[in-house]
C-alpha cells in the first residue's frame, strides 16, 4: 500500500473546492429564486449534509457501521432546545422541567455548542467500550444505543416533554446558517480524513491487525472519531431543531437513520465528495418523489395510499447500490482528484470476504 503524504496538497484540495462551489451556487440560486418550499428543502438538505458528514467522519474512515448517530442528532436537538427556549416559554414547553434548569436561556450559538458537547460527551462515555468490538457486534451495539437514546428521549418527560411534541423553540436557523455550517463541516470532514487520526483510522479500516502491528491504537482512534462525529451530528440536530421549532422523539429514529444511511451509501462513505453528492442526489430524489406522491394522492389516480412510496423507492435504490456498487458513487478517490483507482475498492472487499470465510 502506498502511504499517502500527510500534507494536504493543492491537488487534493481541488475536489473539496469543487464541491464547495457546487453547494455555494445551489445556496445562492435558492436565495435568488426565493421560493419558500425550495428554501425549506435546501435548508434541510444542508442540515442533513452536516449530519451525514458527521456519520461519514466515523463510519467512512473506520469502516464500522453505526446506527447510533441519528441518536446523537436527537441529543443535540433536545439539549440545545433545553438551553435556548426562552425562560418565559419554558413553563409551557416543558411543564415538568427541573427548577434548576428552568432559568437557563442562551443564544443560539452557545445553545448549539452545548447540545453538540452533550452529544459528544454521551458518545465518549458510552462509546469507549464499543470501539473494541468489530463488525456485527459493534453494529448491534450501535443499534442498541439508538434504541436507548430513543427510549430516553421519549420517556424523560421532564426535559424532553416525552413522546409529545416539544415546541417553543425560536427559529434561529435559516438557509444561510445551515449553508455556512455545512460548508465549514465539509472542510472539517475533509481535513479530518487527511489528518493523522483519519489516516490511522483508514489504515485500521483496511486491515485492523496490520494497523495495530504498526503501533496504531485502533480503539483510541475509533473512539476519538466517534466522539468528534457525535459532536457534528449533535450540531446538525441543534440546527434542525431551531429550523423546525417543534418536533417529537420519533424524528430521530428509524426513518431518519434509513435516510441518512441511504445518503451516505449512495454517495460513497469513503469520500467526502461522495458523501456530499449522496446527500444532494437523495434529497433531489426524495423531494421529487414526494412531489409526485402528493400530486398522486391529491388526484387520486392510484388505488392506494401513496405516503411511504418514497421510502419504498429509496429502499430499492439502496439495495441496488449495495448490490452493484457497494462503495457508492464516489468510491475511494475523491471526485475530481486525478483518476479513480477502482482496484483499491476491490481489494478491500476481497479482504473482507476472506475475513468472513
Amino acid at each position: 500500500m502506498k502511504m499517502p503524504s500527510f500534507a494536504v496538497t493543492g491537488r487534493k484540495l481541488l475536489p473539496l473546492i469543487g464541491i464547495i462551489v457546487v453547494f455555494g451556487v445551489i445556496a445562492v440560486i435558492t436565495t435568488i429564486l426565493g421560493i419558500p418550499l425550495l428554501d425549506r428543502i435546501m435548508t434541510i438538505m444542508f442540515i442533513n449534509l452536516i449530519m451525514v458528514l458527521g456519520l461519514q467522519m466515523f463510519m467512512g474512515n473506520s469502516g464500522l457501521l453505526s446506527f447510533a448517530h441519528v441518536g446523537f442528532m436527537g441529543i443535540g436537538a433536545y439539549a440545545s432546545a433545553l438551553f435556548s427556549i426562552p425562560v418565559a416559554a419554558k413553563a409551557m414547553s416543558l411543564p415538568a422541567l427541573y427548577p434548576a434548569l428552568a432559568g437557563i436561556e442562551m443564544g443560539f450559538f452557545p445553545a448549539m455548542m452545548c447540545g453538540a458537547l452533550i452529544a459528544a460527551a454521551f458518545a465518549a462515555i458510552v462509546g469507549y467500550p464499543l470501539m473494541r468490538l468489530s463488525d456485527t457486534a459493534s453494529a448491534i451495539a450501535s443499534f442498541a444505543l439508538l434504541v436507548i437514546v430513543h427510549v430516553v428521549l421519549s420517556q424523560w418527560s421532564a426535559i424532553t416533554n416525552g413522546p409529545r411534541t416539544l415546541f417553543g423553540l425560536l427559529k434561529y436557523t435559516d438557509l444561510w446558517t445551515a449553508v455556512t455550517w455545512a460548508l465549514i463541516i465539509l472542510v472539517v470532514a475533509f481535513l479530518f480524513k487527511e489528518s493523522s487520526l483519519g489516516m490511522k483510522l483508514r489504515a485500521s479500516r483496511d486491515n485492523v491487525h496490520a494497523a495495530s502491528a504498526i503501533g496504531i491504537n485502533v480503539v483510541r482512534a475509533r473512539w476519538l472519531a466517534f466522539t468528534i462525529s457525535a459532536f457534528v451530528c449533535g450540531m446538525s440536530g441543534a440546527l434542525w431543531a431551531h429550523f423546525i421549532t417543534s418536533f417529537q422523539p420519533g424524528a430521530f429514529y428509524m426513518t431518519q437513520t434509513f435516510i441518512v444511511l441511504t445518503m451516505l451509501i449512495v454517495g460513497g462513505p469513503r469520500t467526502v465528495t461522495g458523501t456530499a453528492i449522496g446527500v444532494l442526489l437523495v434529497t433531489i430524489a426524495t423531494e421529487g418523489l414526494r412531489a409526485m406522491e402528493n400530486s398522486f394522492s391529491v388526484s387520486g389516480v392510484l388505488p392506494f395510499e401513496t405516503v411511504g412510496m418514497t421510502e419504498i423507492l429509496l429502499a430499492i435504490l439502496l439495495i441496488f447500490m449495495l448490490a452493484f456498487r457497494p462503495g457508492g458513487l464516489v468510491q475511494t478517490i475523491e471526485l475530481g482528484a486525478r483518476r479513480r483507482v477502482r482496484a483499491a475498492a476491490i481489494d478491500t472487499s476481497e479482504a473482507e470476504l476472506s475475513r468472513k470465510a
Binding site: 468489530s134 442498541a144 427510549v151 411511504g308 412510496m309 421510502e311 419504498i312 429502499a315 448490490a323 457497494p326
Partner: protein
C-alpha cells in the same frame, strides 16, 4: 401459591414466544453471520395475511398455515432478491441491505394495506380461562405454550435428525468446508431463510393474537426482542437463542411486577444497556460457544 404459578405460566408463555423470535433470527445469523433487520417484517407479513384472510370463511387453522407459508415465502424472496447479490460484499453492506429491506416491507404495508393498525379477529375462547386443578389458566397461555413447544420439538428433530439439519449446523460451524464437500451455498442459505420465515410466521401468529392487531411497524418489537435474546443468550447456538428468549420473557414479566410505573417506561433502555454490556464483557452470551465476534485492542 396461585400467584407463583401464574407468574411461571406467564413467563413460560411469553418466554416461549420470545424464544421462537430469537430462533428465527439466529437461523440466518448462524449461517450468514447476518443480523436480519428485516426479520420483524416477516412477522408483520404473517399478521397482514391473517388480517386479509379473516374476511374469508377459511377456518383459523388454515388461515394461520397460509400466513406461515407467506412469511416463509417472503423470507426466501428477500434472500433471493436482496441478500444474495450483496452476499459477497462486506458485512456492513449486508446489514444495511437488511435495514433497507425492512424499510421496504414496512412502507409497502403502509402504502398497500393501511398506515393504521388493523384489528385481527382473535377467537373469543382465547380470552377465556380454564380451571386446571383449582388454578385459573387463560386459554391463550395454553395455546401459546402448546404451539411453541410443538414448534421447538419440530425444530429440534429437524436440526438433529435430518440431512438438512445436519447441513445447517455444519454451515454454522464452517461454511467454507461445507462447500468443499459439495454442498451448494445457495441451497443452505435459502433453507435457512425459509425456516426463519416459518418461525416468524408461527411466532407472529402467537404474538399478534396476543396484541390483537397488526400495523406496519408491528415487527419492530419482535425484532428488538429477538436481538436482545440472541445477544444475551448467546449467538453461537440455537440453545443460546432459546435460553435468551425464556430469560427475557421471565425478566419482562418480573419487571412488570416489580418496577414502579414511572420506571417501567425506561425498561427497554435498561434492557438495551444490558445488551451492550453483554456484547462488551461477555460476547459469547449466557450459553458459551465459539466467539462470534472478533475483538481487537
Amino acid at each position: 401459591m396461585d400467584g407463583v404459578l401464574q407468574f411461571i405460566l406467564n413467563s413460560l408463555s411469553l418466554g416461549s414466544v420470545y424464544a421462537l423470535f430469537a430462533l428465527g433470527l439466529i437461523m440466518v445469523f448462524g449461517i450468514l453471520k447476518l443480523v436480519n433487520f428485516a426479520y420483524g417484517e416477516l412477522i408483520m407479513v404473517a399478521g397482514y395475511t391473517w388480517f386479509v384472510l379473516q374476511g374469508t370463511l377459511l377456518p383459523l387453522v388454515v388461515v394461520v398455515l397460509v400466513a406461515i407459508v407467506v412469511a416463509a415465502f417472503t423470507s426466501v424472496v428477500t434472500e433471493r432478491v436482496a441478500f444474495r447479490p450483496v452476499r459477497s460484499n462486506s458485512m456492513n453492506a449486508m446489514l444495511i441491505t437488511s435495514f433497507a429491506v425492512s424499510t421496504l416491507l414496512q412502507n409497502s404495508a403502509l402504502v398497500f394495506v393501511s398506515p393504521r393498525a388493523r384489528a385481527v379477529d382473535v377467537p373469543v375462547f382465547f380470552h377465556t380461562n380454564i380451571n386446571l386443578g383449582g388454578v385459573q389458566i387463560s386459554v391463550s397461555n395454553v395455546v401459546v405454550i402448546l404451539v411453541s413447544t410443538l414448534t421447538l420439538i419440530g425444530l429440534l428433530v429437524l436440526m438433529q435428525k435430518t440431512r438438512l439439519g445436519i447441513t445447517l449446523r455444519a454451515a454454522a460451524d464452517d461454511f467454507r468446508m461445507l462447500q468443499l464437500l459439495g454442498v451448494r451455498a445457495d441451497q443452505v442459505i435459502v433453507s435457512a431463510f425459509a425456516i426463519s420465515g416459518v418461525l416468524a410466521g408461527i411466532a407472529g401468529f402467537l404474538w399478534i393474537s396476543r396484541i390483537g392487531s397488526v400495523s406496519p411497524t408491528v415487527g419492530m418489537a419482535p425484532l428488538l426482542i429477538a436481538l436482545i435474546a440472541i445477544v444475551v443468550g448467546g449467538m453461537n447456538s440455537l440453545s443460546g437463542a432459546i435460553v435468551g428468549g425464556f430469560f427475557l420473557g421471565t425478566l419482562t414479566i418480573a419487571l412488570q411486577l416489580l418496577l414502579p410505573q414511572d420506571m417501567l417506561a425506561f425498561r427497554d433502555a435498561v434492557i438495551f444497556a444490558v445488551v451492550i454490556l453483554v456484547l462488551v464483557f461477555r460476547p459469547q452470551g449466557i450459553v458459551k460457544g465459539r466467539f462470534a465476534t472478533e475483538r481487537i485492542g
